[in-house]
């Protein structure tokens, strides 16, 4: 059976006006409904790649297909792309402009030309999902960082994108907000949304993602499952990344274990340890 790809990048190159090659010849296929985590040090090109996925930036060369259609960067094509690809920026203040949270959430769906009743229903659903109903009449600048981040995500979710791209969604969040964020991401994944996110948290990426993309200097070092990527010690060293705690612990007890599958979650690791 043919694989259903939602986004396909072919030899994408993007340079900033000062000549910095932020994305250098990247080719990547993303399956529908997949959870992809992008890892890499600062300046690896993750954020630029995310802006390319939404059509905010236009590549210098290369081909970008979304839902099998070639993105030609004309007005109509960009509208269709942005309707389907929601990007949540790392800094929520960059995304929030409306005077109240409720109006902020309505901005995206209203731009899609939807009837007000449908927009209201979507906003109610999103507010319930993210537990931000109590803030609906507040101006965004009076919210805490974590709350702003939730509103920024909510403003995209109200547009019901088929692919959600999040730039470091858990950075700067406390434990409770992080947990809530992961729950929301899991729910979206369950509903069939393709989720791409960048993070510096190797533990989270390893446990959560179906596919991990390791980036360095605007290039992709390796793409694969968590186990595949974290088994490639050379690439990890090149990108300055450490092993996830689960694999680290497993490696110290590996000689006592029978050959079997590597643990991916804390529960699996616990089971291995209890069977020793």
């Amino acid at each position: 059976m043919a694989v259903d790809y939602i986004a396909q990048l072919k030899k994408i190159v993007y340079s900033y006006p000062d000549g910095t090659k932020a994305v250098d010849n990247i080719s990547l296929d993303i399956r529908r409904g997949e959870r992809v985590a992008f890892l890499g040090n600062n300046g690896a090109g993750k954020s630029t790649l995310f802006l390319l996925l939404n059509g905010i930036l236009k590549p210098v060369s290369g081909e970008y297909r979304f839902d099998s259609k070639l993105v030609d960067y004309k007005r109509k094509s960009l509208f269709e792309l942005r309707k389907s690809v929601g990007v949540v920026f790392q800094e929520p203040d960059n995304q929030l402009f409306a005077p109240t949270v409720y109006e902020e959430l309505s901005f995206g769906p209203m731009n899609l030309g939807m009837p007000e009743d449908e927009v209201k229903a979507r906003i109610e659903r999103v507010m319930q999902m993210l537990d931000i109903e109590k803030h609906k009449n507040k101006p965004p600048h009076l919210l805490s960082y974590g709350q702003k981040k939730q509103v920024a995500i909510g403003s995209l979710l109200a547009m019901k994108p088929s692919m959600l791209v999040l730039d470091e969604p858990t950075s700067g969040l406390d434990g409770e907000h992080t947990e809530q964020m992961v729950k929301v991401l899991d729910k979206l994944h369950h509903d069939g949304t393709t989720i791409l996110l960048s993070t510096h948290d190797v533990n989270f990426a390893f446990e959560w993602a179906d596919t991990i993309v390791l980036m360095n200097n605007g290039k992709i070092e390796i793409v694969g499952t968590g186990i595949e990527v974290f088994s490639d010690k050379a690439s990890l060293k090149k990108c300055g990344l450490k092993l996830p705690a689960i694999l680290h612990i497993y490696n110290t007890i590996a000689h006592k274990c029978k050959d079997g599958e590597l643990p991916k979650t804390v529960e699996q690791l616990n089971e291995i340890i209890s069977n020793l």
């Binding site: 929601g86 960059n94 600048h141 009076l142």
Partner: protein, 259 residues
Amino acid sequence: MIYIDKYSNFSKLNRLNPVVKVGYFVVFLAGALLSVSMLFTTALIVCVSCFSLYYSSIKPVHYLKLSLIPLGFVLLGIIPILFTEIKAGETVVLNGGMFNYGITHNTLISCTKVVLRSYAATSALFFLILTTPVSHIMWLLRACRFPELLIDLTGLIYRNIFIVLQLSQQLYIAQKCRLAYNGSRSKNSHLGLLLSRTFVLSIKKANDQYNGLESRCYNNHFKTIAPEFFVSSFYIIQLLLVSFGIASACLISYYYQWQ
């Protein structure tokens, strides 16, 4: 300053239809401008301030501090009225000396009236801004068919003011942490650095924010769902009573020629 709009957002009249609140504002403002009596204007200032303190979430101390902001402008404004050419037969309060200019009893009375009137008008404005969030005023402007571009710009400028303030506050703290602003010479250069850095970062922020709009299919129109308000007969009756009270007091002060 960053949290000035917190008062309106947490005011008791937050969800009241802004038309009613603008009604109060217009009545208070009309009272302030039509008043001829200092006694009535003072009473109006006290009355409007009580309304603001009761309905908004501001503390009296903060309200007093806020009231001091326009004082500088008012004081500067009255200087040309206060100092006048002294004519024969006028009661002189302060003589300026050789130029025959000074403060007379009449100019002093006029200045006191101007100051009181300005404060009464400012109190009316404070009532509006302390009970009505900017978003609601924008809603009202939209309902009054003001040009969309003007309203959208107002909204964006309002939002960006807070971003710039927050940015400059963070930079100021970062400077202070490294012992900045010690000595008059360094004060100027550090302030210059703060301003230039805030300017550069603001441009970057504005660019990032535009990207944020673009990513959500922005099509040169800020279309959002309007907030929902309530209208209560209590506030309308109260408004009518206040209007009646102010109109009566104005007429009485005109009739009896109160100063």
